[in-house]
Structures are given as C-alpha cells and as structure tokens.
C-alpha cells in the first residue's frame, strides 16, 4: 500500500498499461522477434545439426547469391506463384466488392446469400482445398467449352504469364472462395455511407453509374486498401503456395535465406499496393476539385 502512495496517478496508469500489454510484448519477442532475427542469422550461416549441439559456419551472402543467380526454387516456383497472386488479388477484391454491393440491396433472403458467400471461410482448410484443386473442381468449365485454352496460347504465347493465367483459371472458384472475409469487411464498410449522400445525389439527378463512381467507390477506398492488404496476407497460406513446401527442415541456412527473400518480395508487394492506392486516391481527389 505504501508503495502505491509514492507513485503519482500518471505513473500508476502507465504501470497498468504496461501490465496489460506485457504478455503480448513477451509473446512478440518469444514467437516473432527472436525467430525473425534468428532466421536472418541462420541465412548467413551453414547450419549443421550435430548430436549434441548445433554448429554455425559463417558463409556470408552465399545462399542469397545462390538463390538469386540460379535456383529453380525462386524462378520456377516462387515467381510464377507471385504472378498468380498478382492476378488473384484484384480478382478477389473486385468480386468481393461486387457481391457486397449486391448483398447490400434490400432483398428478401439476403441472409441466406450472405451465409453462402461466407461459408468458404469456414471450410477452406488447406487439405480439402488441395483435394479440390487436384481433382480439377473449381474451374468454371469454360476453358474447355469455348476452347479458350487455344486462344490463351496464341494470345499469351510463350510469355511467362501463360502458365499463371491458366493456373488461376483452373481453380477460379477456389480463388473466389478466398473472398469471404473481404465481403464481410465491404458490407460493414457500405453501412458507413450515409443515406443522405445518396439522396442528395439523386435530387441532383445523378445516374446510378455516376453515384457508384462518385460516392460509393471513394467512400469504400479505405476498405479497398484494407482488403488488398488482407488478401495479400491471406495468400501466405493459400494451399498451392510453393513456399509451404520449400521452407522445410532440410537445409536450415538455405531455406532461411529463401524465406527472407520471400518476405522481402511480400514487403515490396505491399509497398506497391499502398503506393498505387495513394496515387489513385490523389488523382481522384484532384478530379473532385
């Protein structure tokens, strides 16, 4: 009791705050901070696991050089996967935006449709999805029906995009399954637009098309950014992500370097998303003025 009296009210409150956040900070150090730095350390070393100890030999940038100069892991697996991600992210976000706008209409049975579009979040477990992908479920069926494959071949030719495009089309429905949470976020976002904005636009004689571009879309833009980032993060554990297979306990040093390169690409990716977003936003703001 006597100790408490010494503390001022402000430092007491600081103490409380520290107490509340302490478990999380300890967890961060133990489960993220330390492993993160340690894997960076390992990526510069050859790691040998001996019966009673682990030996680290410094090799500098050897693994990074190996991976970037010529490795099938990076060029045959990671890069094509990232090309797929480039295609999947906009598909998911645009699909989610469209569905959420439809579901935001006054509609009988809205709850049922909402439940349907959210269901995949409940059951998209890696193994089950992989099962579907392997059996070719989840393609829209139009690749064969309209012989689209041929058109694609002539259009994309031998470019490195041919395979990712086909890959995405082949499990298109399963890609859409990754939009459940995004739909939820957009729906909650649509609730924040006041009805008076729509009413005044209507009185001014705006067409629905204009209303979408001038009211709905700008109001949704923070949620679009949120969803873009969420989708990129969500793709970490997409079942066809090759990193899941590649980073294993086979070669600690090499695989740590690979994981860091992967992390680096993702940071660049997110940086680009945020950059594009801010440029678009600024351009839009200019148009308004």
């Amino acid at each position: 009791m006597s100790r408490k009296r010494v503390l001022t009210a402000r430092s007491l409150r600081r103490l409380e705050g520290t107490l509340f956040i302490a478990p999380w900070v300890i967890g961060f150090i133990a489960f993220l901070g330390f492993p993160l730095l340690f894997s960076l350390y390992m990526s510069f070393h050859t790691v040998k696991i001996l019966p009673n100890k682990v030996a680290y030999d410094f090799v500098g940038l050897k693994f990074y050089r190996e991976i970037i100069l010529n490795s099938s892991a990076l060029y045959d697996k990671l890069i094509p996967y990232f090309q797929e991600v480039v295609l999947m992210v906009p598909v998911i976000v645009i699909f989610a935006l469209m569905i959420s706008i439809l579901l935001n209409q006054k509609l009988y049975g809205r709850f049922l449709f909402r439940a349907i579009f959210f269901l995949p979040v409940i059951f998209s477990t890696g193994a089950v999805l992989l099962q579907f992908i392997n059996q070719g479920e989840g393609n829209l069926g139009f690749l064969e029906r309209f012989e689209l494959g041929g058109y694609l071949d002539t259009f994309l030719g031998d470019s490195s995009w041919a395979k990712p495009v086909k890959e995405v089309l082949n499990h298109f429905v399963l890609v859409l399954w990754y939009s459940g949470v995004q739909i939820l976020i957009f729906l909650a976002g649509l609730q924040t637009i006041s009805t008076s904005a729509y009413e005044s636009a209507r009185i001014d004689g705006a067409t629905p098309w204009e209303v979408f571009w001038k009211i709905t879309l700008p109001a949704m833009s923070p949620f679009i950014l949120l969803n873009l980032i969420y989708t990129v993060v969500d793709m970490f554990t997409f079942p066809s992500n090759p990193v899941i297979e590649l980073v294993n306990t086979g070669n600690y040093g090499f695989n740590s370097a690979l994981a860091w390169i992967y992390f680096f690409i993702i940071i660049i990716f997110l940086g680009l998303v945020i950059l594009i977003y801010s440029i678009m936003n600024r351009r839009h703001a200019k148009n308004y003025v």
Partner: protein, 320 residues
C-alpha cells in the same frame, strides 16, 4: 361540351397515372427498386452462388454415390441411391473420434486463449496509457504481415531444444500470448471494438478507485461480447483449418488434428490401391467423404452462430 372535355382530360389523366404506377412497379422510381431490377439481382446472385458452391455440391453428391453410379457416366447430379459406405471408410481412415477430439481440444483452447490474451492487448492499445504505444502498434502491424514461413525454422529448433517438438501443446502455446494463427488480427479487432466505446464508464470506475485489471474483467470484458464472439469463431475456424503449423510441429505418426490427418489420406489411399484394396475410382468418393467429415463440425457451429455472428461483425466496428 365543357363537361365532356374535362371528362376526357380526366380520363387521360387517370390512364397516365395508371401507366406511371405500372411503370413504377416494374422499373421502380429508382433504379434499384423495380421488379425488373430485383429479378436481375436474384438471377445474378443465384447463378453466382451456384458457381460458388458447385465444388461443394459435387462433393456431397459424389460422397454418397455407390459403385454402380460412379462408373456410370449418365449419373452426374442425382445418385440412384444414397450409399454411406464411403463415409464409413473415410471415418475409419481418419480415425475420426480420436482426431475429432484432438481438433476440438486444440481449436477450443486456442480460441479461448485468444479471446483473453488478444482482448487484454487490444484494450491496452485502445484505452490505456502504454509506454511506446506507437512502436507497439507498429510491431502489431509487423506481426500481421510476417509470413509464418520466415519464423517457422527457428521456432522448430527452439521447440526441439525444449523437448516439445511433436507435442500438441506447441500449437496452443503461442495463443497464450496472443499469437498463433492470425493472432495480430484478433488484437486489432478487440482494439477497434474498445475504441468505439465511450470513455465515461472508465472515468466512473477510476473515481470509484477500481484498478484497471478488476475493471477490465468485471465490466469491459463482459461488454465486449460481440468482439469475443467474432474472435472466438474466427480463431476456432482458422485453427481448425490450419494445416501449416501442425505439419511443421507435429510428427507424422503421432496424434494429429483432423485437417492434418486429411493430408495423409492421399498416401494411405494410394498404398491401398496399389495393394489391390479396391479400384482407383473408389479413392475419390472416400476423399470427398473425408473432406466432408473434416469440415462438418465448424460448418455446424457456424450455422448455429451465424445470426449472432454477422450482427456482431457489424457491431464490433471492425472497419471504423
């Protein structure tokens, strides 16, 4: 003469009004109110949800087809009879009762721990006077975007050193501190929820001399019911569905949760077929049955909690 004229005018006026009424009914005063719009909307939604759910429906159908239907190309949607043999086979392969209990144990403990630990952190970030708050918030964002693949190898090494590798507790341990599958996201959800609450309650409690911890568990935590429901459900479902951490941490022969057991079905069935256990076309329905058994419990929970869940998402202020 005048009366006739006005009569005609009146009639014309009436028909005009009737036409307008009819038009309003069909096309609507606004574009999103008329019948035509509604019909198009329904058509689009129904077609999209059909495409969306197609793999699922196919799974359900394939699962209950008997051997005759499987080889018969004319049977695509309606099986001649409902045959549960495949599901029974999948049940046996999954060691269902055992794996189900393990999955339930892990998912429920992780979800409960997430609600407590992430709630504390979220409340602190939203309301309390935390030193280095901005840095901690930055670390939280970092935690959200760090791919699990970057940190998995050192974690495995530490677990091995502690003698925990292969133990089920490795999957639960991070959630005590608010980590584990998408832990950072749950902290953000709680933070957003507490941010929207008015400060008057806390001020009253402070005047009454309640400590923050007591106040939090007596008042704020019970008030956070919508956020708790959302976090619990997401955490449960994602932990249930996660195959990455179990695959890295658990041994391939020991106890394992359902979602991970699913990944071993392929190899088990492949061996069975090679040994002449049954023809190859039998493998697919068994896999489908196993998928069905794996996703059934979370789907049941969702169907039960669905109404409260969507309400809660709107009330958590997740997006404000």
């Amino acid at each position: 003469m005048r009366t006739i004229l006005s009569d005609v005018k009146g009639r014309r006026f009436l028909t005009k009004r009737r036409i307008r009424q009819a038009r309003n009914l069909v096309l609507g005063k606004e574009i999103n109110q008329g019948l035509v719009f509604k019909l198009i909307l329904y058509a689009v939604l129904i077609i999209t949800s059909y495409i969306y759910m197609n793999p699922m429906l196919k799974m359900l159908v394939k699962m209950v087809m008997n051997v005759k239907d499987l080889v018969d190309p004319t049977v695509t949607w309606v099986p001649s009879s409902i045959y549960l043999g495949h599901v029974a086979e999948a049940w046996k392969l999954l060691n269902y009762e055992n794996s189900l209990m393990i999955s339930l144990f892990i998912a429920v403990s992780v979800a409960v721990l997430h609600c407590i630990s992430c709630g504390l952190a979220g409340y602190a970030l939203a309301r309390l006077d935390v030193p280095f708050k901005r840095t901690i918030f930055f670390l939280l964002m970092l935690a959200f975007i760090i791919p699990p693949q970057v940190i998995i190898l050192p974690t495995i090494m530490v677990y091995t050193k502690l003698g925990l590798n292969g133990h089920l507790i490795t999957l639960i341990l991070p959630s005590i501190f608010g980590f584990g599958v998408k832990g950072a996201l749950f902290v953000v959800i709680f933070r957003q929820f507490f941010m929207t609450h008015s400060k008057s309650l806390e001020e009253a409690a402070r005047i009454d001399g309640a400590t923050a911890l007591k106040f939090y568990f007596r008042v704020m935590f019970p008030l956070a019911r919508p956020a708790i429901l959302v976090v619990f459900l997401f955490s449960f479902v994602w932990t249930w569905n996660d195959t990455y951490y179990p695959r890295m941490f658990l041994s391939p022969t020991g106890d394992m949760p359902l979602a991970m057991k699913m990944t071993f079905i392929d190899t088990a069935l492949g061996q069975f077929i090679q040994n002449g256990g049954f023809p190859e076309y039998m493998a697919e329905p068994i896999k489908m049955g196993a998928s069905f058994l794996t996703i059934l419990p979370p789907v049941l929970i969702y169907l039960f909690a669905q109404r409260y869940f969507i309400e809660s998402v709107e009330r958590t202020g997740l997006v404000e």
